[in-house]
């Protein structure tokens, strides 16, 4: 099994990984980062979204070996030491979620999207999040959370 080295939430790890192991399974099983959830394992639902080198990717479709040499951020790495990130806080304030299973994917996708599109409007946010499935909320509370985060980011 090849050894791979990658940086996850600012910590560097060297792990031997079977070639067929997904990045999601490496994060969950080898690094105990169980905040990343598997909702479909075929790249549709977005629950497993993590940020790799600044881009939101589906960790169920990326092999762990493909992540060698990258910097990965998972939901566990989103919050600053002193509380929640702007997106997390806005989602909390907006009652964005219910069961919480899709939550890490939405947080990662929304965080990556707002970094690149700070002035996004509701339509753009809906399109940006249309690759993430939530079965509980009807999305409105999630969209409101992202809009609130964008507004707070702009006011900073």
């Amino acid at each position: 099994m090849p050894d791979i080295t990658l940086k996850v939430n600012d910590a560097t790890h060297t792990i031997s990984a079977e070639a067929r192991k997904t990045l999601a399974d490496l994060l969950r099983d080898d690094l105990d980062l169980t905040g990343t959830h598997l909702g479909c394992e075929h790249g549709v639902c977005g629950a497993c979204t993590v940020i790799v080198d600044g881009r939101a990717v589906r960790s169920c479709l990326m092999l762990a070996v493909q992540a060698a040499g990258t910097e990965v951020t998972t939901v566990e790495g989103l919050a600053p030491d002193d509380g929640l990130s702007t997106v997390q806080q806005a989602m909390w304030d907006s009652h964005s979620f219910q069961c919480g299973f899709c939550t890490p994917g939405f947080l990662m996708q929304a965080s990556a999207f707002l970094n690149n599109h700070p002035d996004a409007d509701e339509r753009q946010i809906r399109e940006a999040l249309s690759g993430n499935i939530c079965r509980c909320t009807g999305y409105q509370s999630i969209i409101e959370g992202v809009l609130l985060a964008a507004e707070r980011n702009r006011q900073r």
Partner: protein
């Protein structure tokens, strides 16, 4: 984190206490559990809808390095006790009982039926092992639809039943049915179909079973709507004393009716853990979820309606067929609720109802958010079809037929009193919120430009909990229990059998108890998910708002009385003169006397009191639903149908609903919006599809389409809180209503949009291809 400042928590959109862990990735779902020595299970599943199993060869799988055990259906049968489905047994099912095993032995009955369980060091290797299992099948004719199942020549799925009838529900009549039809000015006859679709929680089913051979005890970490039902199911099927089984649950990634008790796969995992003496995990993947977890709602209805020329619905005669799929359970029980609920909030004075539940070679019928909801679809469709024939407005026909609120209340012809039902108010509110004349003008202008807009309305009521029956010994949902304790750190702990999976009980129950007891919200802890410490309970049927909210309120009141009684000894004041506010007990009017409730609990625990002082600051509370009442409301949608592509866009969606007093408006609205979204998905996208051979055609999210943020509009919600019935507890359930009434609302709007083509709609699933077919088949569709 700063404390929440509120005069009263109940009724305010308090931020959820669940979110701190959920937003940081610290939630603990069943797949996050890792136990020392834990193994992983995967299932070999049937590729055929209906077949005899001739032979099973597991030798190559057993020889694979990393595979620890492989159990065939016959081996697993020998490790377990035969018995009925635990949920059906709990619900008192008395019909013919099909005999089947946890894993298929002699035959398979649907594509996805589990045949062999492979247990290995990792899920990867367990799936490798599954690939090496050789099963030889002999095809049987598939019973792929209800029509064939009703044919006596269809091969029976269960030899001991002799045919494919799971349950006959014999005809019952309420009111003067023949009289209503004989005197009716119009009699309408039609057939209404509701298609198969399913729960699809983002987290599928799963469990970790862990058997301790020294203790002879099994712990099951479950994703379940009731840890106690899971425990009972495991104990029954494994032939264990209930006291030797413990079910635990953490966070649960949704369910919507799917995860009640323990499924056949979970029971097989538990049996394997006992056999091996090691923990075993199984978490289904999405394909297993879509093909094998269960599906809902495939029902058809032969409907006759007796109608006056003015649009009065005088009588209904309904013959239902329920397609229960392979292993009958919920689908055989649901017709009773349909029958009771069919009159809805209307004056309907005559109802005939009968039903047949049939077995077919498809995944089993499971409960899904308002399992009986098709009765609402049928009734609301009937009203729309009448209105269309008579040229009445959809609001007008409903106002005409809605039972007026009278004292004493009118009753449904099937029996239940419509006490406190505010259907009329919700219809009138919709008329205020949606300017229908303005919409009609816009609709006419759009049609002139070749664009097709439509408006639809539907109403529902839900027995959540339902009215107290006159003279009844207790409320309609039985009793709900809760244990409450004042801890030495000042925490008021609530132990509840509710098993939240998105409903936010840790927030809502804490709001109620904090207000009633007199502590800050943060000082209430809601304890769930452990059969060793929580009372029996089940999250489902929209019961928790009234039943658990009510027991939290009354239990906190009882605990407060007990604490004040004890504090009266400590503070040398009469209990009547003591108050609890913000976590402190003081003598009324003397703030300097204040003692923290935690200090009182510590004093109680010290034991320095006479034996006649009750220092046990804990109560067991029960609540019977009080005066109960109905949830209900009216939904209205406006849509645009693109008649070139068949695509339906929901422009606007407005809800006027009454769930009594709101505990937390943001949480209530989340429940409503989530239900509406599932209803929109059911109509426009979702279908558990099978071909004529019983092959599942919707095994991935590329084929089973669920709505995304781009398909669901903003949903406007108005709350009516019209009629308090109980002195204390007027919260009513709101979990299912959105899903119950959104499909008829949307279909009503689509039919209205297509009215220039003369389209009439008798079905629920309207993806673009079907819309185009309806237009093409219509009078003016060329």
């Amino acid at each position: 984190m700063a404390g929440i400042v509120a005069e009263r928590y109940t009724g305010a959109s308090i931020k959820r206490s669940e979110d701190q862990r959920i937003l940081t990735g610290a939630g603990r779902y069943v797949d996050d559990i890792k136990l020392p020595g834990m193994l992983h299970a995967a299932f070999v599943r049937s590729p055929l809808a209906h077949a005899q199993v001739l032979s099973v060869d597991v030798s190559a799988a057993r020889a694979l390095p990393g595979v620890v055990a492989v159990f065939t259906g016959a081996e697993l049968e020998a490790m377990t006790v035969p018995g009925p489905d635990a949920l059906m047994a709990l619900m008192g099912w008395a019909g013919p009982t099909p005999q089947f095993t946890l894993l298929a032995t002699d035959k398979v009955r649907f594509v996805g039926d589990p045949v062999v369980i492979v247990i290995a060091d990792s899920r990867y290797v367990a799936e490798d092992g599954c690939e090496l299992v050789e099963v030889e099948y002999d095809d049987l004719p598939p019973v792929a639809n209800a029509a064939f199942a009703l044919d006596p020549s269809s091969p029976p799925l269960f030899a001991n039943l002799g045919d494919n009838i799971a349950r006959l529900h014999s005809r019952k009549e309420y009111g003067d049915v023949s009289g209503a039809f004989a005197s009716a000015e119009r009699v309408m006859d039609f057939h209404i179909d509701v298609h198969r679709h399913q729960n699809v929680p983002m987290e599928g089913r799963g469990c970790v079973a862990s058997y301790d051979a020294d203790l002879g005890a099994l712990t099951i970490h479950a994703a379940t709507q009731s840890v106690h039902v899971s425990k009972i199911a495991v104990a029954m099927r494994l032939g264990m004393e209930q006291g030797k089984v413990r079910a635990l649950a953490g966070d649960i990634g949704g369910s919507f009716g799917l995860k009640i008790g323990a499924s056949r796969e979970e029971l097989a995992v538990a049996a394997a853990s006992r056999e091996l003496g090691r923990p075993v995990k199984w978490v289904e993947d999405r394909t297993e979820n879509l093909t094998a977890s269960g599906q809902a709602r495939e029902e058809s209805f032969a409907v006759r309606a007796a109608v006056s020329n003015d649009g009065d619905l005088l009588g209904l005669d309904v013959k239902a067929v329920v397609d229960t799929g392979a292993y009958p359970g919920m689908g055989a029980m649901v017709p009773d609720i349909m029958e009771a609920m069919l009159p809805g909030p209307y004056k309907l004075a005559a109802l005939g109802f009968e039903s047949t539940a049939v077995t077919t070679n498809k995944a089993s019928y499971v409960a899904y958010r308002g399992p009986w909801a098709s009765e609402t679809f049928v009734r609301e469709r009937v009203l729309d079809l009448i209105a269309r024939d008579l040229g009445l407005d959809p609001l007008e026909i409903r106002l005409r037929n809605a039972a007026p609120r009278t004292d004493p209340p009118a009753s449904m012809v099937t029996g239940r009193p419509l006490v406190g039902v505010t259907t009329r108010e919700s219809l009138e509110r919709i008329a205020q919120l949606v300017d229908i004349p303005a919409f009609r003008r816009r609709q006419a202008e759009a049609r002139a430009q070749g664009r097709y807009l439509g408006i639809g309305v539907a109403t529902f009521i839900e027995a959540a909990p339902g009215p107290r029956e006159p003279g009844g010994p207790s409320g309609p949902m039985g009793l709900e229990s809760m244990r409450l304790r004042l801890e030495e750190d000042g925490i008021v702990a609530l132990f509840t059998g509710q098993m939240p999976h998105g409903q936010s009980h840790q927030t809502t129950l804490a709001q109620i108890a904090a207000d009633e007891f007199g502590v800050p919200f943060e000082q209430v802890r809601v304890v769930v998910g452990d059969t060793d410490i929580v009372p029996f309970g089940l999250t489902g049927g929209s019961r928790s708002a009234t039943m658990t909210g009510g027991v939290a309120l009354h239990g906190a009141r009882q605990l407060k009385a007990k604490v004040l009684d004890f504090a009266s000894h400590l503070m040398e004041a009469s209990a009547q003169d003591l108050v609890i506010a913000d976590g402190y007990i003081s003598v009324r009017g003397d703030p300097a006397s204040a003692i923290a409730v935690g200090e009182v609990a510590r004093q109680a625990a010290s034991g320095d009191f006479d034996a006649d002082v009750d220092a046990h600051l804990e109560v067991e509370a029960a609540f019977d639903g009080g005066e109960g009442g109905w949830s209900g409301g009216t939904h209205c949608a406006t849509v645009e149908v693109d008649v070139e592509t068949g695509i339906v866009t929901v422009e606007r969606y407005v809800v006027a609903e009454d769930c009594g007093a709101l505990i937390n408006p943001a949480i209530v609205e989340g429940q409503i919006r989530g239900g509406v979204a599932q209803g929109i998905g059911a109509v426009l996208l979702e279908r558990s599809a099978y071909d004529e051979y019983g092959n599942c055609q919707s095994a991935t999210f590329m084929d089973y389409l669920v709505p995304t943020a781009c398909e669901i509009p903003r949903i406007e919600i108005e709350h009516l809180e019209t009629v308090p019935l109980d002195a204390d507890v007027n919260f009513r359930g709101v979990g299912e209503g959105g899903m119950i009434v959104a499909p008829p609302t949307l279909v009503s709007a689509i039919e209205d949009a297509l009215s220039p083509f003369g389209v009439r709609i008798y079905e629920q699933h309207l993806p673009p291809a079907r819309i185009l077919e309806l237009i093409a088949a219509s009078d003016s569709g060329q």
